[in-house]
């Protein structure tokens, strides 16, 4: 029954994406408020789902790959709702909603919602560690979205082909800043998540630890390159998109390797 809320949420993201594609292709005005409302509605429905699932299993809903996917999508939506209006990144929602739609559709269609059996009660440190890490990945994914928007806008400016999309995308300098700050936010959250993992009091999963270190180093290198000015905004945008694909692709593999995402 809790899946109903998730279907409804997925529909909201699909509606937001379709509306944007329609507006851009036909040149009709794009009402960013409509997009924002659709994504906000999707977020509320995601939250309802996660709440109900948490109530049902008696712990933070991060017990299998299905729940991890939904939590990542929820984190991305949360970050969009916070930073989208603040940075006037009106089209960020349109670029984000297809990613959320894709993640949730995969989660809903693949047989990954396997119930877990627990021999121990909920562990506060473990839940903090997992949720902080997942929100950090959400932030990294949003940085990838901002990076993609930067590359699209940069290409249009370089080629001097100012199509309908050009007038709807935010200034390229805003995208650079959003990209940098999202990576920084994700890096801080991932560091906190990793540190909190030391207090879990259980044997650690070697695959997960190794993968977390790789992701942490990857984004650390990007930030270091940016700070040392060896990574210019264009390279940073490309790096964040590549890292985005790496995180999204490997999240599945690493969760599977470590036993279906069981906490």
């Amino acid at each position: 029954m809790d899946r109903f809320w998730l279907f409804a949420s997925t529909f909201c993201f699909l509606a937001s994406f379709c509306y944007t594609v329609f507006a851009v292709r036909t040149g009709k005005p794009l009402h960013s408020t409509l997009n924002f409302v659709a994504v906000a509605a999707g977020f509320v429905l995601q939250t309802v789902f996660l709440y109900l699932r948490g109530e049902q299993i008696g712990r933070c809903p991060l017990t299998n790959l299905f729940e991890v996917f939904i939590f990542v999508s929820w984190s991305m939506t949360l970050i969009y709702l916070i930073i989208g209006p603040a940075y006037r990144l009106s089209l960020l929602g349109a670029f984000t909603s297809p990613v959320m739609f894709l993640i949730q559709t995969l989660a809903l269609t693949l047989p990954i919602d396997t119930p877990q059996t627990f021999t121990e009660g909920p562990n506060g440190w473990l839940e903090l560690h997992a949720s902080l890490s997942i929100v950090a990945y959400g932030s990294f994914l949003m940085a990838g979205v901002a990076g993609l928007m930067y590359l699209v806008q940069d290409r249009q400016l370089k080629r001097r082909t100012l199509k309908s999309l050009f007038y709807r995308l935010p200034p390229i300098h805003h995208l650079t800043e959003a990209n940098r700050r999202l990576i920084l936010l994700g890096f801080i959250l991932l560091t906190l998540g990793t540190v909190s993992g030391y207090f879990v009091g259980r044997p650690t999963d070697a695959y997960k630890v190794g993968w977390s270190v790789v992701v942490w180093l990857l984004y650390g290198l990007i930030l270091w390159g940016r700070k040392g000015k060896s990574l210019i905004p264009h390279s940073m945008a490309r790096a964040s998109v590549a890292a985005f694909l790496f995180v999204l692709g490997s999240l599945w593999g690493i969760t599977w390797l470590s036993g279906g995402g069981k906490l």
Binding site: G27, K28, P29, R88, Q153, L157, K158, R160, L162, S164, F166, Y167, P170, P171, I172, H173, H174, R226, K229, I232, P233, H234, S235
Partner: protein, 358 residues
């Protein structure tokens, strides 16, 4: 009852003709009150801009000639008649809706006219020369303008080289108040471009010219700082926007120079506006990361594309306006416009002043 519009515009009359009918901003109230003294005139609004002078009039007499109102300012000669246009009820409504939406403007889709019409209406309302019909007509026209702008692409893009350059700067940097701009070569177009950027919020401007006196004069005129021409490269690392229009027969900004200079500021984009012919900036600099080069041809091409796009929107705008004209006529019919028009009696409703929606 009769609603009419009479006037001259850039489409029908030369500036010499238009200026004869123009109304000085300080004399508008007096002109409106004088117009109201014309027998049978109940309501009047005067719109006077550099591109048009128009009177919107409501009269209680079906046979009223709107020229009587226009002649309160200046006599209309036989020669003027071919330049003066007038519209009756439905065409007046349609004309005003087209005017406020920028469809009748010299620069198609420009938005300045809406502010000018709002001001003209506010002056008339404050002078108590409007009542039920013109209040409704003008307030409706403001919502029509908003609707047309939001539902079509009639205002999208810019249609002049200077405005395109200023818009591109905003699309690269967002707010321009922290941008540092340098004008290299004090030509007319570069001056106008600099002024457009100042109008968009730029605060820091440097002018550099081979003739330093000219640089000093221009810097003083537009509020910038003059710099000797041989020193411009020293300021480059801090620059965000460079407007170049020197008369040099060779490239002033080369790929090799810029590549070296960009190393000093790798994290900041650079917008180069090259409006010189022959060009000042080597075209290959556009290949450098973070450098966006636009020459006069590319700016003109964008302006042309925007104008074409606006023209393509005309039909959609016209359709929207026709719907609103029908709405207004329906409202007027419900208020007994036809009845009053047939009887030719003045409306009985007292003159009520409604605050303009500004």
């Amino acid at each position: 009852m009769k609603i009419a519009c009479i006037g001259v515009s850039h489409q029908t009359a030369s500036v010499e003709s238009r200026e004869r009918f123009a109304i000085d901003a300080h004399q508008t109230t007096a002109a409106l009150r004088e117009a109201l003294k014309v027998p049978s005139v109940c309501e009047v609004v005067a719109l006077s801009t550099c591109n048009r002078v128009e009177w919107y009039v409501v009269s209680s007499d079906l046979g009223f000639d709107p020229r009587e109102v226009m002649q309160t300012r200046s006599p209309i000669s036989e020669l003027d008649l071919e330049h003066v246009y007038q519209h009756d009820f439905e065409e007046t409504v349609r004309h005003l809706f087209r005017v406020v939406s920028g469809l009748d403007s010299m620069v198609l889709g420009e938005t300045e006219i809406l502010g000018q019409v709002k001001k003209a209406y506010a002056t008339a309302a404050e002078s108590q020369t409007t009542s039920i019909w013109l209040n409704k007509l003008f307030q409706k026209s403001f919502s029509v303008a908003k609707h047309v702008r939001s539902q079509t692409a009639i205002t999208r893009g810019s249609v002049s080289v200077v405005a395109v350059a200023a818009d591109l700067a905003e699309k690269i940097f967002g707010e321009l108040d922290r941008c540092k701009v340098m004008v290299l070569g004090a030509g007319d177009t570069s001056e106008r471009t600099a002024r457009a950027l100042l109008g968009k919020g730029v605060r820091s401007l440097i002018v550099s010219n081979r003739s330093h006196d000219r640089a000093v004069a221009l810097a003083a005129e537009i509020g910038g700082r003059a710099l000797h021409f041989d020193q411009w490269e020293a300021e480059f690392a801090e620059l965000d926007i460079l407007i170049s229009s020197t008369a040099a027969p060779h490239f002033v900004v080369t790929y090799a120079t810029l590549k070296k200079l960009m190393h000093q500021r790798p994290e900041r984009p650079l917008f180069l506006i090259d409006i010189a012919v022959p060009r000042d900036v080597e075209p290959s600099v556009n290949e450098l990361e973070g450098v966006y080069l636009y020459d006069i041809d590319s700016l003109e091409s964008i302006a042309r594309e925007s104008l074409d796009a606006r023209r393509q929107e005309m039909e959609v705008c016209q359709r929207l306006i026709d719907e609103h004209v029908a709405d207004f006529i329906k409202w007027a019919d419900q208020r007994g416009w036809n009845r009053m028009s047939a009887s030719g009696r003045p409306e009985s409703a007292p003159r009520t002043i409604i605050s303009p929606t500004l």
